[in-house]
Symmetry: C2
């Protein structure tokens, strides 16, 4: 069975690289995760991707060269025809187009297809996850940044290549600076990176918080989703305030997107979205309602079912 | 020629009813305009629609019963299969579903189709107007309210029936009350009705303006697009300030919609949009840019080519 059309899927994130090996029924036979190199350049990142996929193959009990195809979901500028990835701001030294498909294809002897990380994760939820019964949906990926994926009438909508940028919907006039360089974007309040920067500033200004204490206890160098969750459990006021702001920003931005698209469903994914789960999806829904035009019949809102593996499963769908 | 498949088109607005008779090449053979009744109920509005279309037929030199089909673009809740219009907030006493198609069909002996006013105007610009060469576009209709129409991959996108509500994208946190009952929507700053309310409040608070003086001189009872234009020409500071706010709100809302859709083109229509034309379309573009994610390759922005007749022409396309 496992010999029949095995595929690899790699979700290339700014923090971690998640690899899976799936069979023709999209069952995950093996998986592995590596931290994304924070220094160096594309070859270092590719080396980590290769290791992760080899490890996933090993976990699946198959030789790496039995994979017939490999799909990669990545941030930045993707040219699937050329097989290159460019301008991946979250990856070290990755500006110019780099022949990612060629490198991976050479190593594994497989067809490689590249897709946008958020688009493939949305596709996974649409085909295999929480949005299976809908024909239109907005995927909301709440993690290091805030990304959005769109399916309309059963098809991905990517516009001229950058549709679904819900993290950069402006929600505050003359608001906080966003990592993108603009002001008042959803991501300036809700992206984990921006939330961490706000927490550090608050501490510099004398605020008390257990966030960084938990970070040290866990031996981490940044505020992961788990650290935020732990701080909230401990009733940390700063963490609660920043999460409140994040939810309010996401709710407002999602309402803006829904007033434009009027989709059947909203799927909340991403590291923070999956970690916080249903109760926070309901809070996002509550924050959305005051701004939703079609509020007598709001879209269904659900947490991504495929969790952390959605991106890699969606990547593997690229070569299905 | 005129005998060959003549069609009627009616744009049913809260202020005016615009009717046309078009031939099979979408040439306008005759047109007429009536004020929308501000009192009474659906029968009064239908009577005015009948008069307008009869007058347009007369101007075209044809008998009203030679029309093969009649299309109507209307605000509110349309059920084209049932031929009813409901919840038309801008029309007097029009709450329950009213058999508009049946009434008009009986009177003219023609097939009648109903469509959303903004959708048909967008469709007209897409097929016959400023967006002919594009396959995806956002139509922005800046008038009494602010409406939006969406074409993606050459097809209207209406979601579950209320897509494109760009007038109700939130652009100010805890902002001004909007006629829709929410706060901080684009329309709370840019809808002509809301702008007039702001102007009246400012006068009550002691502000000086020529807006209402021009209104009296023109014998009008509301601030029309022409009155706003005249006041701006005279350097009226209050009018300039309110128009500045309107443009800023539209620019922000359009940027939000573009960050979601990433369309090829933006078409600016509606009473104010068409009246103010290119220079103001550029100002909207300038106001959009700081919030546009894809700002190295912004969408083309144009004024609606079909002007005041776009809605009626788009309505006539419903029966093409």
């Amino acid at each position: 069975m496992a010999e029949d059309a095995l595929r690899g899927g790699i979700d290339l994130g700014g923090t971690k690289i998640q690899a899976i090996v799936a069979d023709s029924n999209n069952q995950v036979l093996g998986q592995a995760r590596r931290p994304t190199p924070q220094k160096g350049g594309p070859p270092d990142v590719v080396a980590a991707m290769v290791e992760a996929l080899e490890e996933a193959a090993e976990a699946a009990g198959v030789a790496p060269d039995t994979l017939e195809g490999i799909g990669v979901g990545a941030p930045g500028g993707i040219d699937d025809d050329a097989g290159t990835l460019a301008r991946a701001g979250n990856l070290p030294g990755w500006r110019d187009p780099y022949p990612l498909a060629h490198e991976l294809g050479d190593r594994f002897g497989a067809v490689v297809r590249l897709g946008n990380d958020v688009s493939v994760a949305t596709d996974a939820e649409f085909h295999l996850g929480a949005a299976r019964e809908f024909s239109s949906l907005l995927g909301v990926f709440w993690g290091t940044g805030v990304g959005g994926g769109i399916v309309l009438d059963g098809r991905q909508w990517s516009g001229r290549g950058t549709a679904g940028e819900i993290g950069h919907i402006p929600v505050r006039h003359h608001g906080l600076p966003c990592p993108c360089g603009r002001h008042g974007c959803v991501e300036a309040y809700a992206g984990r990176r921006a939330m961490e920067a706000r927490a550090r500033e608050a501490v510099d200004d004398g605020a008390k918080t257990v966030l960084f204490k938990i970070m040290e206890e866990k031996g981490r160098d940044r505020l992961t989703s788990g650290i935020w969750e732990r701080a909230i459990e401990r009733g940390d006021e700063l963490a609660e305030k920043l999460i409140d702001d994040a939810i309010d920003a996401i709710g407002t931005g999602v309402a803006s997107a829904c007033n434009v698209l009027d989709p059947e469903a909203i799927i909340i994914g991403g590291g923070l979205g999956v970690r916080f789960g249903e109760p926070y999806a309901r809070r996002i829904s509550d924050a959305m309602m005051p701004h939703l035009f079609h509020d007598d019949d709001p879209p269904v809102i659900r947490v991504a079912e495929l969790g952390d593996l959605g991106g890699a499963l969606g990547a593997a769908l690229l070569v299905a």
